[in-house]
C-alpha cells in the first residue's frame, strides 16, 4: 500500500470506498484480455467486482454499462470494414430488447426475494465452468493436432441442421444465409436476458451460436454480434438505471478508462502469441474465476443472518 496518498474514492451507488488504482488495473487487465482474445470482458468484470465487495446488483448493472464502451469501438471498426450484417443484427437487437426487458423484471423479482446474489453466482459458475471447460478441451485438442504435425483447422460445421427446417424464413444478404427468424429472435432474446441478469455482453455465447446454429460466415459474425451487444447493453443500462438505480458511473468510468488502455496492449500481444495457447490460457482463467465463485457458495458464511433495506414493493 502506498501510504501518504489518498487513493480512496467513494463509489456513490455501490456506497463503498475503493482504491482507484485497484479498479483502474482491474479494468486494464480485463481490457488487456479482451484486446488479446477479442472478447468483451463483461463475464470477467462482474465476478471480479463481486470479489472486490461491490454489491452484486451494482456489479451486474455497471458491468453492462462498461461493456458498451469496448463493444462500441469494436462495432465501429467492423462498420467501417463493412463486416457487419445490419438486417440480421437488427433482428437480434429486437430479440435482445425483449429478452433484456424480461431479464430486468426477473432481476427486480429476485432482488426482492433476496435471491439475486445467489442466482447471479450460480449462473456465473455454470457459464464460466461450461465455457472454460469447452475452451480448454478444444485448445488442448488443437495443440495435440499441431504437435502431431496436422494442420490446426477448426472443425468445419455441417451444412444443414434442424434450425433450417423452421418456418418464417428470411434472407440475409450480407451473411448469405436463408434462415428462419425464430432462432434469430430466440438467440437475441437469450443474450439480452443474460445481459440484464449477469451484466455481460454475451459475445462468448453469441459468436459460437451464430457460427454453429445459424451458419453465419465468420467474417460478419464478430461485427454483427458487437452491433447487437451495443444496443442491448445500452438498453440494459438504461433499464437498470431506472428500475434499480444500480448503475455506478464512477465505477464504470474507472473500469472503462483502464479497459481502453489495456485493450491496446492486449491486441498487440495477442498478434504475437499462438491461437491455441492463448485460448488455453483464457480457458484456465475463466475456470479459475468460476471455481472461486463456486467455493463461496459452499463456505459457511460468517453470519447466517443479514439485514437489508426492504425494497418498496410495486403495487398492492
Amino acid at each position: 500500500m502506498l501510504s501518504g496518498f489518498e487513493l480512496g474514492i467513494y463509489l456513490p451507488i455501490a456506497e463503498i470506498s475503493v482504491n482507484i488504482f485497484v479498479l483502474f488495473f482491474m479494468g486494464a487487465a480485463v481490457g488487456f484480455l479482451s484486446g488479446m482474445f477479442g472478447v468483451g470482458g463483461g463475464f470477467l468484470i462482474t465476478p471480479l467486482l463481486i470479489f472486490y465487495n461491490i454489491p452484486p446488483a451494482v456489479a451486474v448493472a455497471t458491468g453492462a454499462n462498461q461493456v458498451i464502451a469496448s463493444s462500441f469501438s469494436g462495432a465501429l471498426t467492423h462498420f467501417k470494414r463493412g463486416s457487419l450484417d445490419f438486417k440480421l443484427g437488427s433482428l437480434l437487437v429486437v430479440g435482445g430488447l425483449i429478452g433484456a426487458g424480461i431479464g430486468i423484471y426477473v432481476f427486480v423479482l429476485l432482488r426482492r426475494l433476496g435471491q439475486l446474489d445467489l442466482i447471479v453466482s450460480l449462473l456465473y459458475v455454470v457459464f464460466l465452468s461450461t465455457i472454460g471447460g469447452l475452451m480448454l478441451y478444444e485448445s488442448i485438442q488443437a495443440m495435440r493436432r499441431t504437435r502431431a504435425g496436422q494442420l490446426a483447422t477448426l472443425k468445419r460445421p455441417g451444412q444443414h441442421n434442424w434450425v433450417h427446417k423452421l418456418p418464417f424464413k428470411m434472407r440475409f444478404r450480407a451473411s448469405k444465409i436463408y434462415v428462419s427468424i425464430i432462432p434469430v429472435l430466440v438467440l437475441g432474446g437469450a443474450i439480452g436476458f443474460l445481459s440484464s441478469i449477469m451484466g455481460v455482453g454475451g459475445g462468448f455465447i453469441m459468436v459460437p451460436a451464430m457460427i454453429y446454429l445459424l451458419k453465419v460466415p465468420t467474417n460478419v459474425v464478430i461485427g454483427t454480434s458487437l452491433y447487437q451487444i451495443v444496443f442491448v447493453t445500452a438498453f440494459t443500462t438504461v433499464m437498470q438505471a431506472t428500475t434499480n438505480q444500480s448503475v455506478d458511473i464512477v465505477l464504470a468510468m474507472l473500469l472503462m478508462s483502464g479497459g481502453v488502455v489495456g485493450a491496446q496492449y492486449g491486441a498487440r500481444i495477442g498478434q504475437k502469441l499462438r491461437g491455441e495457447q492463448l485460448r488455453a490460457l483464457l480457458a484456465m482463467l475463466v475456470l479459475a474465476v468460476g471455481l472461486r465463485l463456486a467455493i463461496e457458495l459452499f463456505v459457511t458464511p460468517d453470519d447466517i443472518y443479514s439485514v437489508t433495506l426492504a425494497l418498496v414493493s410495486g403495487g398492492s
Binding site: G8, Y10, L11, P12, I13, E15, S17, N65, Q66, I68, A69, S70, S71, F72, S73, L76, T77, L113, G114, Q115, L118, A234, T237, V238, M239, Q240, A241, T242, Q245, V247, I249, V250, A252, M253, M256, S257, G259, V260, A263, Q264, A267, L297, F298, V299, T300, P301, D303, I304, Y305, S306, V307, T308, L309, A310
Partner: protein, 264 residues
C-alpha cells in the same frame, strides 16, 4: 390501599415540613432541555464517523437529590424510520441459501444512545420497555403481511438489533452523559460512517431515583454533500437521464479509445 394512603399522608406531611423550612420545591418540577449547535449536519464522502455532542440543561432540580447523584439522563439520537428485511441462510445441497425472512416496518435506521450510568442502574426493565428506550426495547414491528410463525418472529426480532449493533448503526455508550455543573450536562453520541441521511430526532429522558420524569426532543437533519452525493441523487431522482448519460459516457469512452488505437 390503607397502607398506601398512610404513606401518602406521611409524604405530604414531610413536604409540608420541608416547605416551612425552606423554599418550596413542588414535586416533579424538574425540566430537561437539550440543544444542538446546528440543525443540519452535512457529511462528505470521506466521512469516517464522528462523535456528536449534545448539550442539555436540567432546571429546577432538587439540590439534595442532585448531591446524591440520583438524577439520571439518557440521550438518544434516532435515525429516520425505514423498513428492513432480516434474512436467514440455510444449507441446501451444500449451498447457503437465503430461506426465511421477516420484514420489519418503521425501524429507526440508526440509534445512538448515551447515558449517565449503565441502563440497569437507572431504572427498571419495565420502565425502559414502556418508554421503548434502548436498543433492546425499540418496538420492532413486523410487517402485517408476513407469513412468519411466532417462533420465527421471536428469532428475527432478536437478530435485528444484533445485526444493527454489528453494523455500528446502533450503539449505546454508558457514562457518556456527564454533568458539567449542577444544571448543565453534555452527552456524547456516536455517528457511524454509514449514518443514514434524513431527519434524525434527539431525545433526552430525565430520571429521578429511578422514576421517569420528563423527556424533551429536538431534530437534526443529516445531509450528504459533495460530488458523489450529487451523483447519487441524480441516479435516484433523474434515473432515466442518468441512464442515458451512463450510456453516453461509455460510447464516448469507446470512441475515444478507438481514436487512440488508430494512431499506431
Amino acid at each position: 390501599m390503607r397502607l398506601a394512603s398512610g404513606t401518602l399522608l406521611i409524604a405530604s406531611l414531610l413536604a409540608a415540613g420541608a416547605a416551612v423550612a425552606q423554599q418550596p420545591v413542588p414535586a416533579n418540577k424538574e425540566t430537561v432541555e437539550i440543544g444542538l449547535s446546528t440543525d443540519t449536519i452535512s457529511i462528505t464522502s470521506g466521512f469516517r464517523g464522528t462523535d456528536l455532542t449534545v448539550f442539555g440543561a436540567l432546571d429546577n432540580a432538587d439540590p439534595l437529590i442532585q448531591r446524591q447523584g440520583r438524577y439520571d439522563v439518557i440521550v438518544i439520537l434516532e435515525g429516520p424510520p425505514r423498513n428492513f428485511v432480516v434474512r436467514r441462510k440455510d444449507r441446501y445441497f451444500g449451498i447457503w441459501i437465503n430461506t426465511e425472512s421477516v420484514t420489519f416496518q418503521n425501524i429507526p435506521a440508526s440509534y445512538s444512545l448515551a447515558s449517565t450510568r449503565s441502563l440497569q442502574d437507572i431504572t427498571t426493565p419495565k420502565t425502559f420497555a414502556q418508554l421503548s428506550l434502548g436498543v433492546n426495547n425499540i418496538y420492532y414491528e413486523p410487517m402485517p403481511d408476513g407469513f412468519a410463525s411466532s417462533e420465527a418472529l421471536r428469532e428475527f426480532t432478536k437478530e435485528l438489533p444484533r445485526l444493527k449493533l454489528k453494523q455500528l448503526l446502533y450503539n449505546q455508550r454508558v457514562g457518556d452523559v456527564q454533568f458539567l455543573s449542577s444544571t448543565l450536562f453534555r452527552a456524547t453520541l456516536s455517528l457511524p460512517a454509514n449514518v443514514p441521511v434524513g431527519k434524525h430526532v434527539a431525545r433526552a429522558y430525565l430520571f429521578r431515583n429511578g422514576e421517569f420524569l420528563r423527556e424533551s426532543s429536538t431534530s437534526l437533519n443529516i445531509v450528504k454533500a459533495g460530488l458523489e452525493f450529487r451523483i447519487y441523487r441524480a441516479a435516484n431522482q433523474h434515473s432515466l437521464l442518468y441512464g442515458f448519460f451512463a450510456v453516453f459516457l461509455a460510447v464516448v469512452t469507446g470512441w475515444a479509445g478507438r481514436l487512440v488505437f488508430r494512431k499506431d
